[in-house]
Amino acid sequence: MLSWSGTEQGLEISLENVQNTTGGVGVSYARELVDFATAATEFDLAALTTARNNLINVAGLAVAIDASAVIANFEMMTRLADSTGARMQTEVVQDRLAVATAMGVDKVISRR
């Protein structure tokens, strides 16, 4: 989805950069958004506070709130997918394998 939406908007997205938490090329506030998503999914509350403040300072409160909503959504959807055994058609997996490899999730248990 990220590759697709980036291409549609004329942006080249580096998935390796997402894996390395350096953000995506050409995406506004990428660094702050990735830092915020990372901190929100880990247990360091000081890091989360810092990341949230940084995002609000550069992008505004409304952006931080909607970023939190997206984070929340994928805390839900990842559990929905993994608990119900959701999988993609074999041909879709093949199409997306390069992306999964770039993201470092090609060998995870949840690949089924």
Binding site: A37, F74, S83
Partner: protein, 230 residues
């Protein structure tokens, strides 16, 4: 560095409404679980998500004495499944599902997954903004409806059964369809949190805050952190 505080009054009304509806449902009779059972399972999900030193995936949480799980209305198997999904979802396998559904009927399992999803999403949103996790309402008395849709079938793209026709939609879209109320609550939240279903095909859709590609960047990072291949 001064901390910028966020208030609930800063949050979009549609998002607040979707969360309130889902959160209150955690204490109300559902399709396969009573309000007391759902509330108790939600408490276990909250514990699993918040523990800094969780049980490993292969340990049944109900067997760990110092966790002090409150197991009064739902079975230990249900609590163990909730804990595992809430904290270790990426480790789940088909064998695990087969074992769990020998003790929990598949449609009840789907509703149980919905309880975990609700807890995970609302608590993640609140925690990200330092808003505090809301209290669970007291359980509402009453029996679950136990209404099973007529057209429940097995699927190829999910372990769980779905409403026919199977596999015509994406696996995540069909996953909860066999328990319509759970499906409705979860997708109402997804519409408010992410991208409304009807806008999904538009790469330029935005609420005026995050662009589509910014939303996908955040979504990708969370999915990666949770080691979710899907």
């Amino acid at each position: 560095m001064s901390v910028i505080s966020v208030s609930l009054s800063d949050v979009r009304a549609d998002l607040i409404f979707a969360h309130e509806q889902a959160w209150s449902a955690l204490s109300q009779p559902g399709t396969w679980w009573s309000g007391a059972q759902k509330r108790e399972l939600a408490q276990t999900a909250l514990l699993a998500i918040s523990e800094s030193e969780p049980s490993p995936p292969w340990v049944a949480a109900s067997t760990v004495a110092d966790k002090n799980l409150q197991i009064h209305f739902a079975s230990s198997a249900a609590h163990d499944a909730v804990y595992r999904i809430a904290r270790h979802a990426a480790t789940l396998t088909s064998d695990w599902y087969q074992r769990v559904t020998q003790e929990i009927e598949p449609l009840a399992f789907i509703e149980l997954c919905g309880v975990v999803c609700t807890v995970a999403t609302v608590s993640a949103f609140r925690r990200a903004l330092d808003l505090g996790i809301p209290e669970l309402a007291p359980a509402t008395l009453g029996e679950p409806s136990r209404i099973k849709p007529a057209n429940v079938v097995d699927a190829t793209l999910n372990w769980v059964p779905v409403i026919a026709p199977a596999d015509e939609n994406a696996a995540v879209v069909q996953a909860f369809t066999a328990v319509p109320e759970t499906n409705r609550v979860i997708w109402a939240m997804a519409d408010a949190q992410y991208i409304p279903d009807k806008e999904m095909v538009d790469p330029h859709w935005t609420r005026g805050t995050l662009s589509r590609v910014q939303m996908e960047l955040v979504a990708t990072r969370v999915s990666q952190q949770r080691e979710c291949f899907y």
